[in-house]
Amino acid sequence: MHDELKLLSGAMVTLALATAGLVVLPFIQLKAVPPPPGLKAYTSAQLRGREVYIKNGCIYCHSQQPRDKAQAPDDTRGWGRASVAADYFYDKPHLLGTMRTGPDLFNIGARQPSADWHLGHLYQPRAYTPGSIMPSYPYLFEAKEKADPGDRVVTLPPGFKPVGKIVVATQEVLDLVTYLQGLDHTYPVLEAVEPKKK
C-alpha cells in the first residue's frame, strides 16, 4: 500500500493547492466586495433576457470584460473602462466570455440604446453590419400577415423584410433586448479593488 498512499496523498495535496489558489482564495478575497453605488440590480425582465442570452450561447462570441487602456484599445472602441470585480456583483452565472468573434458587450446598452436597432439586428445582423458573421435568429421572431393588438412590430431596413409579411418580436427576444439595453457599466468606480503591483 506504500505506493498508493504516496500517490493519492501527493495527488490530493497538489489539487488542494491549486484549488486554494484559484477557487478558495478568490472566494475569500471577493466575498466581501460590495456593489458599486452606480450598479443597479437586474429587473425580472432583464433576468429573463439574461437567460435567453445564456441559452442561445451568446457568450461564445461576445465577452463582457473590457480590458485596461494600457493593454488594449477597448476603451477607444467604445467598449468602456476596464471592468472590476464589483461590476459583477449581481452576475450569476458570470458571463465574462473568452471570445471576441463579435465585440465586447459589457456596455452595449450605453453604446446602442435603441430597441429597434437591437431587434432588427437580431433578426438579421447583416441588415445593419455588412460582413457580420453573427447568426440571424429568425426563431426568435414571428412572420405574420398583419399585426395583432399588442404585437411589437420590428422595423427593418428595406430589402430585409419577408415578402408580404411583417415581422413580430417574441417575448423572448424582447426580454433579451431589455437585458442588452441594461448592459451599461459606465458609472465611475474606484480603481481596482486589488492594488496593481508592478
Binding site: L22, V23, P26, R77, P93, Y139
Partner: protein, 556 residues
C-alpha cells in the same frame, strides 16, 4: 491578506512539496537502468515488440533488429517461461475485453456525433444564415454540443476504455468489479445524452465546460464513481510490488476528475468573478489533470511495448508526473489575463504555466531517448505512428501554451481563434491521436479478431494528419491576424472579423477531412466488431477467437 505573501507562499510550498516527493520517490535520479521501467515486460520479453494491429508483413518488419537492440536470444527453457507469462497476460486481457469493448464503442459513436456537430458549427461561422430557423441548430448551442460531446463523450469514454484494459496488465491481475464499470458507463452516457438534450433545448448552467445542468451532472458523478471502483478493487488485488508510471498517471487522474467536477458543479456557492476563476480552474484542469495524464499513461505503456524497449529514464517519467501534478493545477488563471480578477492570481497562473516546461521537457526528452535508434519501427507499426505523433503534439501544444500564457502574447491571442486552434492541438493533436493509436492496439486483443482492412488504418492516419494540419495552421494564422487587428485602434472592429474569413473556411475544409478520417475509423471499427473482412491467418493474437467477448456475453 497580503497578496505577495499568498503568491510567494504558494510558490514556495509547491516547489518544496515537489522536491520532497521526488526525493522520497527516488534517491538516484536519472538512473538509466531502473528496474521499474521493465515492469511491463515479462522476463525475456524485452526486444520483442507487441503490435496487435500490424499485418504479418509489418510484423516481420517490426521484428527486424535495430542496431541499438541488445537483447539476448532465449534458451528453450526461458522461452517456455515467457510463454507461461504471456498466458497469464492473456487472462488479464480476457477479464477486460467486454468492459473495454463497451467503453470504446461508446467513444467511437460520440466521436462521430461530435465531429459532425463541430463541422456544422465551423461552417456556420462563415455561412451565418445557414440552418438558422431551428433554435437547437444555432451556433451558440451546436458549438456547445460539440464541446460537451467531445469533452464528456469521446475523450473520457476512450480514456476509460483504455485505462480499464491497461490496468490488469500493469497490475498483473485480472480486472475485478468490471460490472460496476459497465453500469457506470451506462449512467454516464445517459447523463451525457440528457445533458446534450438540455443544451439543445436551451437549458444550461451558462459556463463554458460546465453547461450541463448540475442536476444532470449527478448522473455523471455517480457513473464516474462506479467506473472508478474496479480501479480500487484491482489495485488492492495487485500482484506487482511497484506501480508502473502509467498507473500513477491514471490513478491520480481518476481521482482528480471527480473532485474537479464536484467542486465546479456545486450549486449556489460560486459568484461573480470568483465563479470565473473557478470556471477556468476547472476548464484547464479537465485538460491538464484528466485528459493529459490519461493520454500520457497510454504513451508510457504502449510506446515501450510496441518497440520492445523500456522507457529510457524511469525517474524522468516520475519527475514529469509530479511536476505536472504541481504546476498544471494552477495554470487556469491565464484564461483571464486582462480580466477583472485579482492581479496576483493572474501572475500565479502565468508563472505556473511557464513552469509547465519542466514536465513537458522531461516527457519529450524521455520519449525521444526511448525512440532513438528505433524510429525505423514507425514504418511498420500503424499504432506507433499515432502514438509518437501524439506525444510530439503534447510537447508542441504545451510549449505553445506556456508561451501563450505570457502577458504580451496573451494580449494578442486572447479572445481570438488562435486559442481555439491551441485547444485543438492539445485535445486533438495530442490526446485524440494517442487514443486512436491505443484503440488500434487494444481492439484486436479485445475482439480476438484482427483489423480486417489494414489499409484503412493508413487512410485514417493520413486523413486526420492532413485535415488537422489545415485546421491548425489556418486557424492559428487567422486568429493571430484577428488579434493584431483588434489591438489596432485605427481599424474598425469589423476588420478583425473580415480578416478571419478565409481561415474560417480553411478550418471547415480541414474539419471535413478530419471527419472523413473519423468515418473511415468508425467504419473499420464496425467491420471488425461485425467480424467482416478477409480472415487473416498470420495471427498476431495471443488468444483464440473462441473466447470472444460477444460469445461470452451471449453464453453466460
Amino acid at each position: 491578506m497580503d497578496t505577495v505573501t499568498i503568491l510567494l507562499s504558494s510558490f514556495v510550498l509547491s516547489i518544496t512539496g515537489l522536491f520532497i516527493f521526488i526525493w522520497s520517490l527516488r534517491k538516484r535520479l536519472f538512473d538509466t537502468s531502473s528496474a521499474a521501467a521493465t515492469l511491463i515486460f515479462s522476463p525475456g520479453e524485452i526486444g520483442r515488440g507487441e503490435e496487435p494491429s500490424a499485418t504479418p508483413a509489418q510484423l516481420a518488419g517490426l521484428a527486424k533488429r535495430v542496431p541499438s537492440d541488445t537483447h539476448a536470444t532465449l534458451t528453450a527453457e526461458q522461452e517456455a517461461e515467457l510463454a507461461r507469462e504471456l498466458a497469464l497476460r492473456t487472462d488479464a486481457d480476457k477479464s477486460t475485453a467486454f468492459v473495454s469493448f463497451v467503453f470504446l464503442s461508446c467513444a467511437v459513436v460520440w466521436l462521430i456525433v461530435g465531429s459532425l456537430a463541430g463541422l456544422t458549427s465551423s461552417i456556420k461561422l462563415h455561412e451565418p444564415d445557414w440552418l438558422v430557423s431551428q433554435a437547437w441548430l444555432t451556433f451558440g448551442r451546436l458549438r456547445t454540443i460539440h464541446l460537451n460531446i467531445v469533452a464528456y463523450g469521446w475523450a473520457p469514454m476512450s480514456a476509460f476504455g483504455i485505462a480499464m484494459w491497461m490496468l490488469p496488465r500493469l497490475l498483473k491481475t485480472p480486472l475485478i468489479g468490471a460490472r460496476f464499470a459497465v453500469l457506470g458507463c451506462m449512467l454516464w452516457n445517459a447523463g451525457l445524452i440528457a445533458g446534450v438534450g438540455c443544451i439543445a433545448a436551451g437549458i444550461n448552467d451558462g459556463m463554458e465546460w460546465l453547461e450541463i445542468p448540475w442536476q444532470v451532472d449527478i448522473l455523471l458523478i455517480v457513473g464516474g464513481s462506479m467506473i472508478g471502483l474496479p480501479l480500487v478493487y484491482t489495485l488492492q488485488a495487485r500482484k506487482v510490488d511497484h506501480l508502473y508510471v502509467s498507473v500513477w498517471y491514471m490513478g491520480a487522474a481518476l481521482f482528480w476528475f471527480p473532485i474537479l467536477f464536484l467542486i465546479a458543479n456545486l450549486p449556489a456557492v460560486h459568484f461573480g468573478v470568483e465563479q470565473a476563476t473557478m470556471n477556468w480552474w476547472f476548464g484547464h484542469n479537465v485538460l491538464g489533470l484528466f485528459y493529459t495524464p490519461m493520454a500520457l499513461a497510454s504513451v508510457y505503456y504502449f510506446l515501450p511495448k510496441i518497440i520492445g524497449r523500456p522507457v529510457q529514464s524511469y525517474n524522468l517519467s516520475l519527475l514529469g508526473f509530479w511536476t505536472l501534478a504541481f504546476f498544471y493545477g494552477q495554470v487556469g488563471g491565464h484564461h483571464l489575463v486582462g480580466g477583472p480578477v485579482p492581479a496576483w492570481l493572474i501572475t500565479l497562473s502565468i508563472v505556473q504555466s511557464v513552469m509547465m516546461v519542466v514536465p513537458v521537457l522531461s516527457f519529450s526528452v524521455n520519449q525521444h531517448l526511448t525512440m532513438r535508434g528505433y524510429f525505423s519501427k514507425l514504418l511498420y507499426s500503424p499504432t506507433l505512428r499515432f502514438i509518437v505523433l501524439g506525444g510530439m503534439m503534447y510537447t508542441a501544444s504545451s510549449l505553445q501554451g506556456s508561451i501563450e500564457a505570457l502577458r504580451s502574447v496573451s494580449t494578442v491571442a486572447h479572445f481570438t481563434h488562435f486559442t481555439v486552434a491551441h485547444a485543438h492541438l492539445g485535445l486533438y493533436g495530442f490526446f485524440t491521436m494517442v487514443m486512436f493509436g491505443a484503440i488500434y492496439f487494444v481492439m484486436p486483443r479485445v475482439m480476438a479478431w484482427e483489423w480486417p482492412y489494414p489499409s484503412l488504418i493508413a487512410a485514417h492516419f493520413w486523413l486526420v494528419v492532413l485535415g488537422f494540419s489545415i485546421y491548425f495552421i489556418g486557424l492559428s494564422i487567422g486568429g493571430w491576424l484577428q488579434g493584431l487587428l483588434m489591438l489596432d485602434a485605427t481599424k474598425p472592429f469589423m476588420e478583425s472579423v473580415k480578416v478571419t474569413m478565409p481561415y474560417l473556411q480553411s478550418r471547415s475544409v480541414g474539419g471535413a477531412i478530419m471527419t472523413l478520417g473519423h468515418l473511415v475509423f468508425a467504419g473499420h471499427f464496425a467491420a471488425m466488431v461485425l467480424r467482416h473482412g478477409p480472415l487473416r491467418t498470420g495471427a498476431a493474437l495471443l488468444h483464440t477467437p473462441a473466447a470472444s467477448p460477444l460469445t461470452k456475453l451471449a453464453g453466460t
